[in-house]
């Protein structure tokens, strides 16, 4: 097999223009590939994309739905980006989200009658702590036993998924319901809507809060500098006196906690019952999926505090738009799912081309 001889050359340090040009170009290329997928479904790509974007942003109702979708994505995206920043590969946001929702369910169902101003903070804090715990365990396993956190956090997702299934199909099952789910949480635990008539609720504010917190932590705090140092070079960070393990554990706590809140968000903002396997989204989804989406969003957003909200919004548009496109044209709604991967791959190529040139070598 003869490979064409390629030589990889470093470009001189790229300026801001180059740094933006290539990622944007790669997203356009990805959309182009998406057009092929749409065409494969027998639909004219322009029509398809029209329905996609207007379905997500066309009117106030669509925008509010997109923002509603944006909320958990921003939360998990922030959670994962924070962890990835210090090279703690937290793929367990899904599980942390689920455990947050589960614990919130417990309080939400057991404390019916408690006033909102008590119950909602209680539910949020408990969700945060649960998610934090579920992330800290793999972090400790990594610190003490060098166990690869990609695997431990991931397997953790499945463990929680089945545990939730057990609870919701067994001891917590609501006898009055047709399918496996918990009883509804207290009305006082439900997240109030921001504007009546639209699904966007206070979870949106919470998500924005954490996104801003992420920004502040990274740019303005000692801890943020330590996180960046550990993520760039743990050996050197250790040499310079930064307590690497402590950074790792604290990051795991915040990351898992934010993901846990994403779970609380879903429970108290939208679903109001804890669901079981296969009933989360109504299309046979095993789980809400926002945790995994968060990983994608973190990577797409370049792990930056500004990129993550943009990526989360983009993804919300994609998801809502894909559903609208399906309803209008029949292009299968997993379109957005396939686009995730395509965009990421194109983006990797784009980022690479920002810093390197590929040249053909003669001979």
């Amino acid at each position: 097999m003869r490979f064409p001889k390629l030589k990889v050359e470093k470009r001189p340090l790229p300026d801001l223009k180059t740094k933006i040009l290539w990622p944007v170009l790669s997203i356009l290329i990805a959309l182009g590939i998406g057009a092929i997928l749409i065409a494969a479904a027998g639909v004219d790509p322009l029509t398809g994309y029209y329905h996609l974007f207007s379905g997500a942003l066309g009117d106030v109702h669509a925008i509010s739905e997109t923002l509603w979708r944006f909320t958990p994505l921003l939360l998990t995206g922030t959670a994962v980006a924070l962890a990835f920043r210090c090279k703690f590969w937290n793929i367990g946001a899904e599980g942390q989200m689920l455990i947050g929702a589960t614990v919130a369910t417990f309080f939400g169902v057991s404390f019916i009658g408690t006033p909102s101003w008590l119950l909602i903070p209680l539910v949020i804090i408990s969700g945060f702590l649960a998610g934090a715990l579920w992330a800290v365990i793999p972090a400790i396993l990594k610190a003490k036993f060098k166990a690869d956190e990609v695997v431990t956090t991931l397997l953790g997702n499945w463990i929680i998924l089945y545990f939730v299934g057990y609870l919701v199909e067994g001891p917590w099952r609501d006898p009055t319901s047709l399918w496996p789910e918990s009883p509804a949480i207290a009305a006082t635990a439900v997240f109030p809507r921001l504007v009546s008539g639209y699904r966007v609720h206070i979870g949106f504010i919470i998500a924005i809060f954490f996104a801003i917190l992420f920004f502040i932590v990274l740019r303005k705090t000692v801890w943020g500098s330590q996180i960046k140092a550990v993520g760039a070079n743990p050996r050197a960070a250790d040499f310079m006196g930064i307590k690497v393990t402590r950074v790792l554990i604290t990051v795991a706590i915040l990351s898992g906690g934010i993901a846990g809140i994403a779970g609380v968000n879903e429970l108290c903002g939208t679903h109001l019952h804890m669901k079981g396997l296969g009933f989360f989204g109504g299309t046979g989804e095993l789980s809400w999926g926002y945790g995994y989406a968060g990983v994608f969003i973190a990577m797409l957003g370049g792990l930056s505090a500004i990129g993550v909200p943009v990526a989360a919004f983009f993804m919300a548009v994609m998801i809502q738009g894909s559903r609208a496109m399906y309803r209008a044209t029949g292009v299968p709604s997993p379109f957005f799912y396939a686009m995730e991967g395509i965009i990421l791959v194109c983006l990797l190529l784009g980022i690479f081309l920002t810093y390197y040139r590929i040249r053909r070598v003669k001979g």
Partner: protein, 515 residues
Amino acid sequence: MKRSPVVIKMVRITKKFPGVIANDKINFEVRKGEIHALLGENGAGKTTLMNILYGLYRPDAGEIYIRGKKVTIKSPNDAISHKVGMIHQHFTLVPPFTVTQNIILGLKFPKGVLKIGRAEKRVAELSEKYGLKVEPRAQVWQLSVGEQQRVEILKALYRGAETLILDEPTSVLTPGEVRDLFKTLRSLAKAGASIVFISHKLDEVIEISDRITVLRDGKFVATKKTSTTDKGELARLMVKREVIFRLKKPKAKLGKPALEIKKVSALSDRKLPALKEVSLSVREGEILGVAGVAGNGQRELAEVIASIRKATEGKVIVKGKDMTNRPPSEIVEAGVGRIPEDRLDMGLITDLSVKENLVLETLRDFSDKAVLFFPEGVFLNHSAIDKYADKLISEFRVITPSREVPSKTLSGGNLQRLILARVLARNPKILVASEPTRGLDVGATEYIRRKLLEQKTRGAAILLISEDLEEILTLSDRIAVMYEGKIMGIVPARKAKIEKIGLMMAGTPLSKIGR
């Protein structure tokens, strides 16, 4: 006397890298059976030239002729097919593999199936024939550096090399091992092999070579017959300046012992003993140089003092306080400045900006009050950080477009200035400097050595660890020699004789050396 035929001829070889011309129209030739030294300072272009001959680099211009025929060498495989072998300065061995596995690595076997038994036999034969003692089944990571070098040489011979290129082969050997190597090289040359010996060490080059080619700043300077030249002429050709910098070593005004290391033991990364009850003491105002061939525990010693390696026994006492195994941040607070050996991997975080690297060690100085879970403070004072960074950049003359650029864009000399700035700006009472001038050009080296002497005059206690014996001799007040994790002896620099130090470096304790 009939001259033997030219085996290798390199004509007008040019090689450019971004920002520098490494080889500028260089002519070089090697005859059969000769030992030809390639001499020059660090960065003169010697290794680049030989990397081109060995196919690791492609020249931008120029031609290569082997045994009269013009050849194009696109890869080490091509070089090997032309019977050229290279032994690099940093060994290219696979540590968990055996000697034989390393030697046959990359060779083709019929149907792709290895024939280890036959290979082991051939390795034993070759090792016998050329006097290169190795055990074919031994795992390479367990071998001594000298033995590993023999494996590298056998690798080349196994592939039929008739021309051997050795890149700074003695930099990791003890004087005794150097003698063995020279014996081997002479017998190889007598058997008809041609040897290119890259070095920057004048004494060795004069001892071993038949001819010497001098390179300087990427250009060919001269080829001389060794018997017709001397150290002075070679040094002039190498350096061009008459100045071989003679730094005035100020008289030591000694104070109390500031850094004391008492019977410290530690393990290496491979869990073998690296330090065996090492005791040293450095007084204020003195420079204690630690000499020794790399790999005898010096790195572990620096790491134990820097608190990034655990001392299993003994005490590290800083200004009278026991600081054994305290966290690095406390060591820095106690006034110990550390210049690590590993600039890029440990001394700096190259992806972070220049200014961040200047303050990461001491973030607490730039933050607000400590709160609850945040003992180092919560918020950073960015304007204070910016001011501090600017001050240091100008004071230490770090050449950088701004304080915000990632530090990996800086050149080697400036990286070291950056580290120096970070460390010296705090006026440390104690300095531990490991290989501070390794890989730097003359100008940077001079600057750093001057700064070290400045600190000494200020009253700092300096522990200088260096493989460069000349550096140790130039800067130190006292010299300690390490061998296999132990201190062989400590002598005052003025009275130091090279032979004594060489013997200690090779394992003879001071007590056993006669007058």
